[in-house]
């Protein structure tokens, strides 16, 4: 009885056990090995670094909750970045050009989401294939748009978007926190959020319960697209240029963050807090390994193993 109650308490926690364990271990280990790791400066730095993928991961959580996937996010980051950069460079007053650049970027994300959503619903293409195609389309488009060369010499104010600080926090960190709070509220306390879980849990049953499942599916791809473009703009601002090769392989980091955070790839189960912790786990790991001067090839191997171990702990606990 007692152990039963305890397991109930555990399973009712929004956070998976595995990630709590590996994240704690990670932080203790790096604090011991590097005196710089647990300083305010480094913590803010980590938050800035991981904010780009974490914002996308929030959107990806919506998609994966419906048992979909969006492989196009990395390429969309690049395409949004180069378009936003080119708009920012237009011969317009800065206070016009910058909002215009942001708006253009977000619009691309939304349009991409609608397109992916229609492919998945109306044309019944599996999400994997639809977004795989979008991935190469956007990557190619980014190179065509820029002739394969980065777009430099942007107005200085463009760089402030990601370079500035508000209340002592880097702006991308702040945006990330806002995105997660809003995403949490949407999933927990709105009809759309409830429907996302329902569609992911049992699509046909959801339809027969009166849910317009196509609208929900298009909706999640729009959420993911807009948040991806937001990240694309922030990334372009951080490097103060539009890079057609930006965001390479981001989709893998993002999906890893969502899955490590306990969201089921088969849909219907998962939390946004889990995803944030997943993104933090991977971000902190990268940062710690950098501080310890571990070379980047070794880093990749270590990240892979940490992802595996985290998921293994969760699987073992389920049994």
């Amino acid at each position: 009885m007692k152990t039963e109650e305890r397991s109930k308490v555990f399973s009712s926690l929004p956070v998976k056990f595995g990630i709590g364990l590996t994240l704690t271990a990670e932080i203790i280990l790096f604090s011991q090995l590097s005196p710089y790791f647990f300083t305010a400066e480094n913590i803010l730095n980590v938050s800035l670094q991981l904010s780009i993928t974490a914002i996308i991961a929030a959107g990806m959580t919506f998609v994966i909750l419906t048992s979909g996937i969006d492989l196009s996010v990395g390429a969309l980051v690049a395409f949004t970045g180069v378009v936003a950069a080119s708009v920012a460079k237009l011969a317009l007053p800065v206070f016009v050009a910058l909002p215009l650049a942001v708006a253009a970027g977000l619009l691309i994300g939304a349009a991409s989401g609608v397109f992916a959503g229609i492919c998945v619903t109306r044309y019944a293409i599996t999400p994997f294939i639809a977004t795989l195609a979008l991935m190469t389309i956007f990557r190619g488009a980014a190179y065509i748009y820029t002739d394969g060369r980065p777009i430099w010499e942007l107005p200085q104010q463009f760089g402030l978007l990601a370079g500035g600080r508000v209340f002592g926090l880097p702006i991308p960190t702040l945006i990330m926190l806002i995105v997660y709070v809003v995403a949490y509220i949407i999933l927990k306390w709105t009809r759309f959020g409830r429907y996302v879980y329902a569609v992911g849990g049992n699509k046909e049953a959801a339809r027969l319960a009166g849910i317009n499942t196509n609208r929900i599916l298009i909706g999640v791809y729009v959420v993911c697209g807009v948040l991806t473009s937001l990240s694309g703009i922030l990334l372009a601002s951080r490097v103060n240029s539009g890079q057609p090769n930006a965001g390479l392989m981001y989709e893998l980091d993002v999906i890893a963050a969502v899955v490590v955070g306990g969201t089921s790839l088969s849909g219907g189960r998962g939390t946004i807090i889990g995803t944030l912790l997943g993104a933090v786990l991977i971000g902190v790991l990268r940062n710690g390994l950098n501080l310890l001067d571990v070379n980047s090839y070794v880093q990749q191997v270590v990240v892979g193993f940490v992802i595996l171990i985290t998921v293994m702990i969760d699987q073992a606990r389920k049994k």
């Binding site: 306390w189 709105t190 409830r194 049992n202 046909e204 959801a206 317009n212």
Partner: protein, 499 residues
């Protein structure tokens, strides 16, 4: 007569249900032994134990006088037991020959490569034994259901099979296809194979069976030669108990017209016209595939119709989606509540409120307090028993699951409720509760459409019964005049052929 197969004292217990209770059964070489009974009587459980798909709790299986230990499908194969299930176990993309020899492909003598020439030749011979000529190179998904069944049988007898069990083989066949199936089965028994034939179409039993065993609630009620049985006695053995005790007494007084369908054509449905009154329980009887579920989906807006009209309160309606139907006051409790009703990951509260979230909005947000109050009310009203309303529905019994879906439709204030097989897979006690709830709703003025393959249930609960056959309505019977025989006659269209 020496027995090829002898089962004695077989018992199998599921949580809460005794599926088989001390069942004994015999099969001789060259015999067709029919197995009949209502849904849940234990026919499938028995054949699954024989084929190694399920393990028995107690009892003995004796084959050719020796005790057989069957713990897996491959054990069953070793004893020469073949099974043809209702839903075929073929791989749709593989060819006919590849399916027949799946897992036992003939190999080249020297190389680890499949010898396709030999495989196709063997497959053709095998099919030839069944009197069937098929192109063995085409994928089985391109074949008709009857042809797939032949492939399935060829696959079974490509092993050394002495006992063959056919589970509802006729469910998806036309009359002509059925005759050729009978020819194949007769050919097999002439070679000494013993056949166990499960069917709910009683007329088939008289046509092909040698002996018949009737199961009811997991027990053998009767075993006798087919010539000693008639349709009436079979049904009586199958149903067995007094109907009055099984159903609550509902004194219905149907009111004015509530819903009307006129000449609906959709898919297999042809010119469906009927009327439903307020406070009426209208039953729909018919065989599987007669179009009842298709009709329910059309009425509910889940599938489109080609032509025809629907009226609610005398006003024409045309729901194009479940949402529109729900907003009009129509609810559908689907046949397969796990696959088409519940969201397994969600808890009881969320499952109940799913169709009514717009009523719970306060600004853009869900009023979760109001949600839990309203659902708690419904749970009390329907006596849904769950340890906690925040438990996922996966932990609930069949009866409670059905009540959760019913609560969902009560939340939406449905005026017309369509129940598709409302008590399939539900215990007898819980059935009575569901009937009582349906009756109570009807007394409150809800119009109920009840689709069921359980004839006693229709007879016990409905005020009127419409019978369907191959997409058409073949008859309508009032409560007083309806009998199982009359319904079955209409459902199988015997009436017309007699006329």
């Amino acid at each position: 007569m020496s027995a090829l197969l002898r089962l004695s004292g077989i018992s199998k217990q599921y949580p809460g249900v005794r599926a088989l209770d001390d069942v004994s059964f015999e099969l001789s070489a060259g015999e067709i032994h029919c197995l009949v009974g209502e849904n849940g009587a234990g026919k499938s459980t028995l054949t699954k134990i024989l084929s190694g798909a399920l393990s028995k709790d107690s009892g003995e299986i004796i084959i050719n006088g020796e005790k057989a230990e069957i713990h897996s499908p491959s054990d069953a194969l070793k004893y020469g037991i073949g099974m043809i299930y209702q839903d075929f176990k073929l791989v749709p993309e593989l060819s006919v020959a590849e399916n027949i020899y799946l897992g036992k492909e003939p190999m080249q003598s020297r190389l680890p490569i499949i010898d396709y020439a030999t495989m196709h030749q063997l497959a053709r011979t095998q099919l030839g034994l069944l009197g069937e000529i098929l192109d063995t190179t085409v994928p089985v998904r391109t074949l008709s259901v009857a042809q797939q069944q032949v492939v399935e049988i060829a696959k079974a007898i490509s092993e050394k099979v002495t006992i063959l069990a056919l589970d509802e083989p006729s469910a998806a066949l036309t009359e002509r296809e059925l005759l050729s199936l009978f020819t194949i089965v007769r050919r097999l028994i002439s070679e000494g194979v013993g056949v166990i034939y499960i069917s709910h179409r009683l007329e088939e039993i008289f046509e092909i069976g040698d002996r018949v065993t009737v199961l009811r609630d997991g027990k053998v009620v009767k075993t006798c030669p087919v010539v000693e049985a008639d349709r009436k006695s079979l049904i009586q053995w199958m149903v067995g108990r007094e109907l009055e005790d099984e159903f609550p007494h509902i004194g219905l007084v149907p009111g004015e017209e509530l819903f009307r369908a006129e000449k609906i054509n959709a898919g297999i449905l042809r010119s469906i016209t009927f009327l439903l009154r307020r406070g009426e329980i209208l039953g729909f009887a018919g065989l599987v595939g007669s179009g009842r579920t298709e009709l329910a989906r059309v009425l509910f807006g889940a599938d489109g119709k080609e032509s025809g009209k629907m009226f609610l309160h005398g006003m024409e309606i045309a729901p194009r989606s479940p949402r529109e139907a729900i907003d009009l006051g129509i609810g559908l409790l689907t046949e397969d509540r796990n696959r088409l009703g519940l969201i397994p990951e969600m808890n009881v509260v969320e499952n109940i409120s799913l169709s009514s979230l717009s009523e719970l909005l306060r600004g853009p947000f869900l009023d979760t307090k109001k949600e839990s109050e309203k659902t708690q009310l419904l749970m009390d009203q329907l006596r849904i028993r769950t340890p906690r309303s925040t438990d996922t529905v996966e932990n609930l019994s069949g009866g409670n699951r059905q009540k959760v879906i019913l609560a969902r439709w009560l939340f939406t204030n449905s005026k017309v409720l369509i129940f598709d097989e409302p008590t399939s897979g539900i215990d007898v006690g819980a059935k009575y509760e569901i009937y009582s709830l349906i009756g109570k709703l009807a007394l409150e003025g809800v119009g109920i459409i009840m689709i069921s393959s359980d004839l006693p249930e229709l007879l016990g609960v409905c005020s009127r019964i419409i019978v369907m056959h191959e997409g058409c309505i073949t008859g309508e019977l009032l409560r007083g005049e309806a009998t199982q025989e009359k319904i079955m006659a209409l459902a199988t269209e015997e009436v017309k052929s007699e006329d």
